[in-house]
């Protein structure tokens, strides 16, 4: 069996009286694509926020390669190897696409004021590496010809792709994509599925939140279904599709919307 990469262990998260996550447990193995689905407000993004350190779990534990993430700062979780994109795009708007990705690549770097001031070998080496890596990743997601454009000037689809490139630049072992296909047309979705598979084949593990059922069913190895903060099902796409609880909670109600 592949190695356990991330373990979400009995996590509960409360905001005052609201229970956003209720004893949720699941895990991701190295090299797989895990889909996280559920109706709106089911707690998918909250789940992301717990794994990336934005929120601290009220109880339970999140472990990455056996190491607890509790109490870790957000940037150090990123350096540990978890990177994410955002449901509502959050790029560094007045920086170029290339610079955006280089900020991600800088997670691996340690140049300080002194190195930069005197152009020490470390600065030159890291600038060179960051620049090369950023161009590579822009090419991977297919927007290398827009490298010198400001992020704000990119088209919506390119901005989503740039977010993926920026997250990959931090050299994660686990890439969390929060609705990467939101607002895409079918052709763009097909290309995105292709990209996610390429990313997995390059050696990354992917945690994917997505509303589009066809995309989720087509690309994931395993699916976890949340509803009202609770896990109601887990299994292969085929198993989940036939699960009566899932059909009741999600597919049965939302079938038209999901196909549309």
């Amino acid at each position: 069996m592949a190695e356990r990469l991330l373990e979400v262990d009995d996590v509960t998260l409360r905001f005052g009286g609201v229970v956003a996550l209720d004893q949720v447990s699941f895990h991701i193995d190295e090299g797989e694509i895990l889909g996280l689905i559920g109706p709106n407000g089911a707690g998918k993004t909250t789940c992301f926020n717990v794994t990336t350190g934005v929120y601290q779990a009220t109880s339970g534990d999140v472990r990455f390669r056996g190491e607890s993430l509790a109490g870790r700062k957000r940037f150090s979780i990123t350096k540990l190897g978890i990177a994410r994109t955002f449901q509502n795009i959050r790029l560094f708007n007045s920086m170029t696409a290339l610079e955006n990705v280089m900020v991600g690549a800088d997670a691996q770097h340690s140049t300080g004021v002194f190195s930069a001031l005197f152009r020490l070998p470390r600065h030159r080496r890291e600038e060179e590496r960051g620049h090369t890596r950023a161009l590579e990743l822009l090419r991977l997601v297919g927007i290398e010809q827009r490298a010198d454009e400001l992020a704000v000037n990119l088209s919506y689809g390119d901005q989503r792709r740039l977010e993926i490139a920026r997250a990959l630049a931090t050299e994660p072992q686990l890439l969390c994509l929060d609705e990467p296909a939101a607002g895409f047309n079918p052709a763009e979705k097909a290309k995105l599925m292709e990209l996610i598979r390429t990313i997995r084949d390059t050696g990354y593990t992917v945690l994917l939140i997505e509303h589009d059922m066809r995309l989720v069913m087509g690309v994931t190895d395993r699916i976890v279904v949340l509803e009202f903060g609770r896990k109601i099902a887990e299994g292969s796409p085929a198993q989940v599709q036939d699960d009566p609880a899932v059909i009741a909670a999600y597919l049965g109600v939302d079938e038209d919307a999901a196909d549309g």
Binding site: F75, T78, G112, H123
Partner: protein, 382 residues
């Protein structure tokens, strides 16, 4: 490092002044920069008719302008690069000035060059002490806290006897003079210049009578700071600052230790502010709390905002305008503040991004505008 690349990419866009300059071959650029720097050094010697200030000593005015430029460069790191609104920047300026004053006046009588690093270090430490607890708050709250800091520093000075209380500290020491050679000034009769061998500046004699040597010193410091600014901005550090400014949460999640970098920006800003305060004290010979009023924090910020925050060349222009114009038009004494205020308002209305904003701001605005027009078009169709 990125000049060749950006010059290539700039071909399709309209070529700006910056593009033209960076498109020139390197030796030409070096010669241009040296010539321009030389011109700046010689400016008080040349004393050109229209530029020169009729009612005040031109060398002194140029010195004040350079001190403002230094302050604006420091504040630009905090406000322009890292996006932290600092309304108490004069506090660091005061720490630097009082540091020099206490160490070089009768109480301690240190030589200026020994006191300078200590005073500047004190300013840097004060920046870290202020930033440590306060950089956890954001936006407006940070502005309020820094506003308080500036006032606290001034009130400490007013109320402590050892700092001279309201009267200030007299007999502040200046840098040591090395008298090497004399530089004759030009005098202008209409548009004809003649070399005046009786009116000379001594290189390098720092005195209250002739401020030109002090101007040369300060200008050199400004060049050093610009050099450092360029190098730090074009590195991991500069990118991290900009990322913090653009979206702090996203930056943190992309592995940027935002608190550390914000504190660094604060410390570097405080360092440069302290440096200019220390030079100011050395030039002035005496200091009093009245030189560190809230008004100056606002003026410094005005210089940065007028010029175009985030663009070092812009804030230099802003600082020059803020410091120079009131001196040039001294004859309109009681009107000048009113005119200055009006000019600020007009600028805020017609050019809110500053006179010389970073080019990316201009481009970003244009793009936003285009997107808005497109969206409006879509709505009209739908």
């Amino acid at each position: 490092m990125s000049t060749a690349k950006s010059a290539g990419a700039a071909g399709s866009r309209s070529r700006s002044f910056g593009d033209r300059v960076s498109g020139l071959p390197t030796p030409v650029k070096v010669i241009l920069v040296i010539a321009f720097a030389l011109l700046l050094y010689l400016l008080p010697i040349i004393n050109p008719p229209i530029l020169s200030t009729p009612d005040t000593d031109f060398g002194g005015v140029l010195l004040t302008v350079t001190l403002y430029v230094l302050v604006a460069l420091g504040l630009n790191i905090v406000v322009g690069y890292a996006g932290l609104l600092d309304l108490g920047y004069v506090g660091f300026y005061a720490v630097g000035a009082y540091g020099i004053a206490v160490l070089t006046s009768q109480q301690a009588s240190w030589p200026f060059l020994l006191a300078l690093p200590v005073a500047v270090l004190a300013a840097l430490v004060s920046g870290v002490i202020l930033g440590g607890p306060t950089l956890r708050v954001r936006g407006d709250y940070l502005a309020i806290v820094t506003l308080g800091f500036g006032e606290i520093i001034r009130l400490i000075a007013v109320n402590s006897e050892s700092l001279g209380a309201a009267a200030g500290i007299p007999d502040v020491g200046g840098p040591p003079s090395i008298e090497l050679f004399e530089v004759p000034h030009l005098t202008w009769d209409g548009w004809v210049a003649t070399l005046d061998l009786d009116d000379t500046s001594v290189f390098l004699e720092f005195s209250v009578v002739d401020l030109i040597p002090f101007y040369w010193l300060t200008l050199t410091v400004v060049f050093l700071v610009i050099w450092a600014d360029i190098r730090v901005k074009d590195s991991r550090v500069g990118r991290a600052w900009e990322a913090c400014r653009e979206d702090e949460d996203a930056a943190e999640l992309m592995g940027v230790p935002t608190f550390k970098f914000k504190l660094l920006a604060f410390a570097m800003g405080a360092f440069i502010g302290g440096l200019s305060g220390a030079l100011y004290a050395g030039k002035q010979g005496f200091i009093s709390p009245n030189s560190f009023l809230l008004l100056y924090s606002i003026l410094f910020l005005a210089a940065v905002v007028i010029g175009g925050q985030g663009n070092r060349w812009g804030v230099i222009v802003g600082a020059v305008l803020v410091a120079y114009l009131p001196e040039r038009f001294r004859e309109f004494t009681e009107w000048r503040v009113l005119v200055f205020g009006l000019a600020l308002m007009l600028l805020a209305i017609f050019r809110p991004q500053g006179l010389l904003p970073p080019r990316r701001t201009v481009r970003a605005r244009r793009a936003e505008h285009e997107i808005e027009t497109l969206e409006e078009g879509d709505k009209a169709h739908g």
